[in-house]
């Protein structure tokens, strides 16, 4: 520990009392993930009724790699006619073969999907990073293993549903329209499709237009698994395609993950219908760090909370609330830690922070950075190297912000943290709850009773205590207030797919 005083001993970068300075000690050699074996076709059609079919209007749109702005492939644009075809296929499957299969056998199909994903995990991870910009370390170690785990978990529920709903005879809803975002493309697909199939529904899913690649690869996998035609249908396209699904008369349920703004539009367009819906919307998670918290662990937790997946996480810990006595220390440690983050090529195994998902989002985040400065906050960014091409943003933190600042109230969905302070637990809780959102919050303290008290007063669907951004198929996830309706994951996630 005292090595910094002895000149002869080399500087030890792990010393908790020193500034972390990896770069001057070690040079990181590139560690590229070989991506040759992940095949990408020139263009992808729609997956309807077990077949890849051309879009009725013949239109395709390009998908680019956000890390180098090169076109990867093209996806078909599904219009009203295509969506109608997909819904009809799903209806036919629901009323036909899929309903006749016993729950036990239905479960085995889902198990088969889980296994097949595990077998092809690396390929999926590479494609996810290429198409969406997330570091391969995350797609390889978090996204894809979780995808397999979600299918594996829900597969087992298929023939055990009556145990999840005491006093009820669980019945499937029918055709589920599912619309997913671009931040965890395949994982969000798994969150949607696994419980829907386990409960005996059929689905029409639309991936986000910037990240449709793994969903179409998944369609190939569904074919390989021998799932009956029409049980899973994948239609690609932008917002208009999503609207066609939402407004289709023969869809029984809408499951949406995305922004609160679009979620409200969907809730409003379902007005007057009897369609069931679940919404997983935005968030503005706070992390309360008390003076008795293990500070180094907390700093690591904060880094993971806001810079994981470039901050493209609805439950990201984007607001840091530090108890006054330790604020300077925590902020300094955070800045030091920020300096060690490696921003760059998503396919490099050393990369911590990859590319912002799209040009559009890149511009949005940059606008918020400008806005923060205009609002009078102090901006701090690491001075790390950033590639010339592609959409990269340096991990950022803002200090000297107030509760009413827009960068504190609004979801930025990028690697941007705001830092505020509090004196008493009550004040910290008040600030935590003072947004329209209620998805996830964090609390850091060594005192158990404080965790339970603070956790119970935070109005959000997830509380991470002395940790952050952890996910598991057995663990329900979803928001209070304007962060959404309903839960995904765990036993509670089944309720979204059965009749009341």
């Amino acid at each position: 520990m005292s090595n910094t005083e002895t000149k002869d001993v080399p500087y030890k970068p792990t010393s908790p009392n020193s500034k972390l300075d990896f770069a001057s000690v070690w040079e990181y050699a590139p560690a590229p993930q070989d991506s040759d074996f992940a095949e990408v076709k020139e263009k992808y059609d729609l997956f309807i009724d077990g077949k890849f079919v051309k879009p009725s209007k013949g239109r395709y749109f390009k998908s680019t790699n956000p890390a180098n702005e090169e076109v990867i492939t093209e996806f078909a644009e599904a219009t009203q006619k295509d969506v109608d075809k997909a819904v009809k296929a799903a209806r036919k499957a629901f009323e036909g073969e899929w309903s006749r299969i016993s729950a036990k056998e239905r479960g085995k199909y889902i198990y088969r999907i889980a296994r097949m994903i595990q077998e092809r995990a690396r390929e999926f991870a590479i494609l996810e990073s290429m198409d969406g910009g997330k570091p391969i370390r995350e797609s390889r170690d978090v996204d894809i293993p979780l995808v397999a785990a979600y299918f594996f978990y829900y597969a087992g529920w298929a023939d055990k549903l009556e145990y999840a709903f005491p006093g009820k005879q669980p019945e499937p809803l029918g055709v589920c329209g599912q619309i997913i975002p671009w931040n965890f493309p395949l994982l969000m697909l798994a969150w949607k499709i696994a419980p829907a199939l386990a409960t005996g529904n059929t689905v029409v899913l639309k991936p986000a237009e910037t990240t449709s690649l793994t969903a179409l690869k998944f369609a190939e996998l569904v074919k390989d698994c021998g799932l009956p035609d029409g049980v899973v249908n994948i239609v690609t396209g932008a917002g208009q395609t999503g609207a066609e699904i939402v407004n289709h008369k023969d869809v029984d349920k809408i499951a949406f993950t995305g922004s609160t703004k679009v979620g409200k539009l969907i809730q409003s367009s379902l007005a007057g219908t009897d369609k069931k819906y679940t919404l997983e919307l935005g968030g503005k998670g706070a992390m309360l760090i008390f003076e008795d918290a293990p500070i180094d662990q907390a700093v690591e937790g904060i880094i993971n909370a806001i810079y994981f997946n470039q901050g493209h996480v609805c439950c990201a810990g984007s607001r840091l609330l530090v108890q006054e006595g330790i604020a300077d220390k925590v902020i300094q440690k955070l800045k030091d830690r920020l300096a060690t983050l490696i921003v760059g090529d998503p396919l490099d195994k050393n990369t911590d922070v990859g590319a912002i998902n799209s040009k559009e989002q890149f511009e949005t985040v940059n606008k918020y950075l400008e806005l923060g400065v205009e609002e009078g906050a102090d901006i701090y960014q690491c001075d790390c190297k950033v590639p010339d091409n592609g959409y990269f943003i340096r991990p950022t933190l803002f200090t000297n912000v107030s509760q009413s600042n827009r960068i504190v109230q609004e979801e930025i969905f990028g690697p941007v943290l705001t830092v505020q302070t509090f004196r008493t637990a009550e004040e910290g809780i008040e600030k935590t709850n003072n947004t329209p959102y209620g998805l996830a919050n964090g609390v850091w303290t060594d005192k158990g009773s404080k965790i339970f008290k603070v956790g119970s007063k935070m109005r959000s669907g997830v509380i991470w205590a002395n940790t952050y951004n952890k996910f598991d198929p057995t663990s329900p996830f979803g928001g209070y207030k304007e962060s959404g309706v309903g839960r995904e994951g765990g036993m509670h996630g089944l309720a979204a797919y059965i009749k009341n």
Partner: protein, 289 residues
């Protein structure tokens, strides 16, 4: 000859924050018996009355949701006791609006039993519907139910006592507070039930009861930004249904619709009516030395 005694009639007001105020609007409408005679002038609740009630319900939420499940159970049980005690009052309330004696008795009995049914659920739904989740990483992870918040509800139009009791009970059993619009045609039993609530250790503001018109208030019930859920159990006109859904989207309000025609049917009570107004909260903590 003895002079005929003039009986003293009760003024029916509304129930907000544990008090019985008139509508701030000063408006009333006629509550009639089944022969069309005037029973009383009921308050015609306004937007302002509703907003006042929501503010009070929000203020009462923290305290009520922090009560122990055991305590909430005892208070619901106490409401049942008070209702039992005032059977005669409700016989007099239900008779003139068309309930035959046996029907009124059955309605009161079922209302008392319903309160006890939900009193019993207060400290059990958490055990039945919460979970400990076996996550693969080294964390302790559990999910608990927490009340959604302030609930705005339309009490059933055709079941002025049993229906009212049946929707209030599961909402407050789960720690929510509420603003309820009484049956428009038969508003008086609801206000008498407010007297029962007021005598039953239910903190002021937990249940607020307005009388008035659905047509007028549906817009305000559904659009208020500090209401977390909206609930009804009758078939509504399709334009009102649509309006409620659309307004709900302004703040992602939960809309709970359970169409119930027969409040005696076994399907008209269920722990799922409690969970309709609950949010699942999942907590993670690392496990280690």
């Amino acid at each position: 000859m003895a002079e005929e005694r003039i009986d003293v009639k009760k003024t029916y007001k509304m129930y907000i924050g544990g008090n019985f105020p008139r509508s701030e609007s000063g408006r009333t409408y006629k509550a009639l018996d089944s022969d069309g005679n005037l029973l009383a002038n009921a308050c015609q609740g306004s937007r302002k009355d509703f907003r006042d009630a929501v503010k009070i319900a929000r203020g009462a939420f923290n305290g009520w949701s922090s009560r122990s499940a055991y305590n909430r159970g005892q208070i619901l049980y106490r409401i049942a006791e008070m209702l039992e005690d005032r059977r005669d009052q409700f016989m007099r309330e239900l008779g003139p609006i068309g309930f035959k004696t046996a029907e009124a008795e059955a309605d009161i009995n079922a209302s008392i039993d319903r309160l006890i049914y939900y009193a019993g659920w207060t400290d059990k739904y958490q055990q039945v519907f919460g979970s400990v989740n076996p996550v693969a990483s080294s964390h302790f992870n559990f999910s608990m139910l927490e009340p959604t918040g302030v609930v705005a509800a339309f009490a059933p139009e055709k079941s002025p006592l049993l229906g009212l009791v049946s929707i209030i009970s599961p909402i407050i059993a789960g720690g929510n507070t509420c603003v309820v619009l009484a049956s428009e045609e038969f508003p008086l039993p609801a206000i008498s039930f407010a007297e029962v609530l007021n005598a039953s250790d239910v903190p002021g503001g937990v249940v607020n009861i307005l009388t008035g018109s659905r047509e007028e208030l549906s817009e305000h019930f559904s659009s208020h930004m500090d209401v977390n859920a909206m609930c009804y159990t009758d078939e509504l006109p399709s334009d009102m249904k649509k309006l409620i859904d659309e307004n709900a989207s302004l703040n992602v309000k939960r809309v709970v619709k359970r169409m119930i025609k027969d409040w005696y049917h076994e399907d008209s009570q269920s722990p799922y009516f409690v969970t309709d107004f609950q949010e699942v909260k999942t907590t993670w903590h690392p496990v280690g030395f």
